[in-house]
């Protein structure tokens, strides 16, 4: 291992990811706005200025049984994402034997469960706490418990994660099968990536996985999983704006809201970056490869923006069959890869 490179990469790769990711929501919003035939917000607004603005807002104690834990969840999410991007980094190859898809999947799983914790810790004002005297009036039915919608979000997030993230894991799995290894770097190398002599010209000679049949199928499955883990439309079942249930993130205010925004942005970018590493064979690293990496990493958010502009929020009635379908696709991908 090359220590200076290692340290530099450990500091700068996440930093670059961090900076780039502040553009992602703005780009997505702009694309949607263009589809909707309007001007839309400036590109930096939703991801960068909004975050900064929240930093300068008054700090409020959230209504939550464990405010400290509640506040620190976004931070945990961000740290997790930093680790994920480091694991896909060539300089980290072989560190503690962690740079495998298994470790990656584990971290993603933790990220998913954060939403569940969030929901359980929040109690926003739009529901039970709304000052409204309706207990005296009444339906014939008296329910035992009054629940706010975060709690239901939690149940749904749980279900969504169990069924909905299959495609993602299958999408992670396909490259491993094709490359015959679960080491992230060996997958990249299988596609022709060489950290030492990476040139833009050299990119033409690589054989990215996405151009093969199993790779393509796997990429589709991965994309579906990407939408699920981001809770992006159409899979935003646990926190849609206009659904009965608004998400568990409603109590985040000021700095922690900024944290939540950042966590979302960086998840968008990092999950897409993982995709580029696995399917294009170009990992994020501190040389020329970073440029095509970042450009390619915009593909998934752009596709996500287009997909969400043209689909309604799906409920479990559609999510089950759809995610089954995508999982089946993933399985097909795996089978094709084995053949």
């Amino acid at each position: 291992m090359n220590w200076p490179d290692f340290v530099l990469a450990t500091i700068f790769v996440p930093l670059i990811a961090f900076i780039v990711s502040t553009w992602v929501p703005g780009i997505m919003r702009k694309i949607q706005a263009r589809i909707q035939q309007r001007i839309g917000p400036p590109v930096l607004m939703p991801g960068f200025w909004a975050v900064l603005k929240f930093m300068y807002k008054e700090r409020i104690k959230p209504v939550s049984p464990l405010p400290r834990l509640f506040h620190s969840i976004p931070l945990i999410g961000i740290v997790l994402m930093f680790f994920i991007i480091l694991l896909t980094n060539p300089e980290w190859d072989g560190v503690l034997g962690l740079t495998t898809l298994v470790a990656l999947a584990g971290l993603i799983k933790v990220e998913e469960t954060l939403y569940i914790v969030m929901g359980n810790l929040s109690d926003n004002i739009m529901s039970v706490r709304m000052p409204y005297p309706d207990l005296v009036s009444g339906s014939v039915m008296k329910a035992k418990v009054r629940r706010n919608f975060e709690k239901i979000s939690v149940t749904r997030a749980f279900k969504l994660i169990t069924v909905g993230s299959f495609p993602l894991y299958l999408g992670l799995f396909v490259p491993a099968v094709v490359a015959g290894s679960i080491g992230i770097m060996s997958i990249a190398k299988y596609q022709g990536f060489e950290i030492a002599d990476f040139t833009l010209r050299g990119m033409y000679e690589m054989n990215p996985l996405i151009l093969t049949v199993p790779g393509f199928i796997g990429a589709i499955a991965y994309f579906a999983g990407y939408l699920v883990i981001l809770n992006e439309y159409p899979f935003s079942i646990m926190h849609t704006k206009a659904d009965v249930i608004e998400g568990p993130t409603m109590e985040y205010a000021s700095v922690s809201r900024a944290g939540y925004y950042l966590m979302r942005e960086i998840t968008m970018f990092v999950m897409s970056s993982v995709f580029v590493t696995l399917y294009f064979g170009i990992p994020p690293t501190l040389n020329l490869a970073m440029v095509p990496h970042i450009i390619l990493a915009m593909i998934l958010p752009v596709l996500a923006a287009i997909a969400s502009a043209f689909s309604p929020v799906l409920t479990f009635r559609q999510v089950y069959p759809l995610s089954l379908g995508f999982s089946a696709l993933g399985v097909i991908g795996v089978i094709v890869a084995i053949l």
């Binding site: 694309i31 263009r34 589809i35 035939q37 309007r38 001007i39 287009i306």
Partner: protein, 163 residues
Amino acid sequence: MREMFVFMIKGAYDNISRILFATGRKTSIPMRNKILSGQVTYPQVVNDDSCIGCGACANICPVDAITMVDMEEPVRITEEYVKERRPVFDPMKCMYCFQCHDSCPIFAFYGKPSAIHPRHVGDSKVNLKELLQRPIVIKDKKEFEEVMNLLDEKAKKLLEGGI
């Protein structure tokens, strides 16, 4: 099937050009410019040039949003008519029912753009002098008789000549 395919290709083409070149944008650019330069203001409500100061609008307003104030310098519009008051409109009280607009004689009698409109009075200029001296034409015989009954003897004599 083929139709569906053509439809999809066309839709894809439309949307890609929307994304890349912002074609088919519906947002109003003139309005954007106006708003960014802070030019959208409450429209002028009373067109003082065409108002004759009769007070009908203040009378009819159901929420007393219009008050008539005495003018410092009364305006002589015609030989016989001097405008002494003008209406002042309070946007905060108004409920935009347009009673004032509909009952303003400039609109109701002469069919010209009303001197008062809580939204857009525009810049309709009316030559009041001409307008007020224009003879009012009463076509209906019955109506004419009604008007005659309202007038006093002296005025009746003047109008005796018929319509």
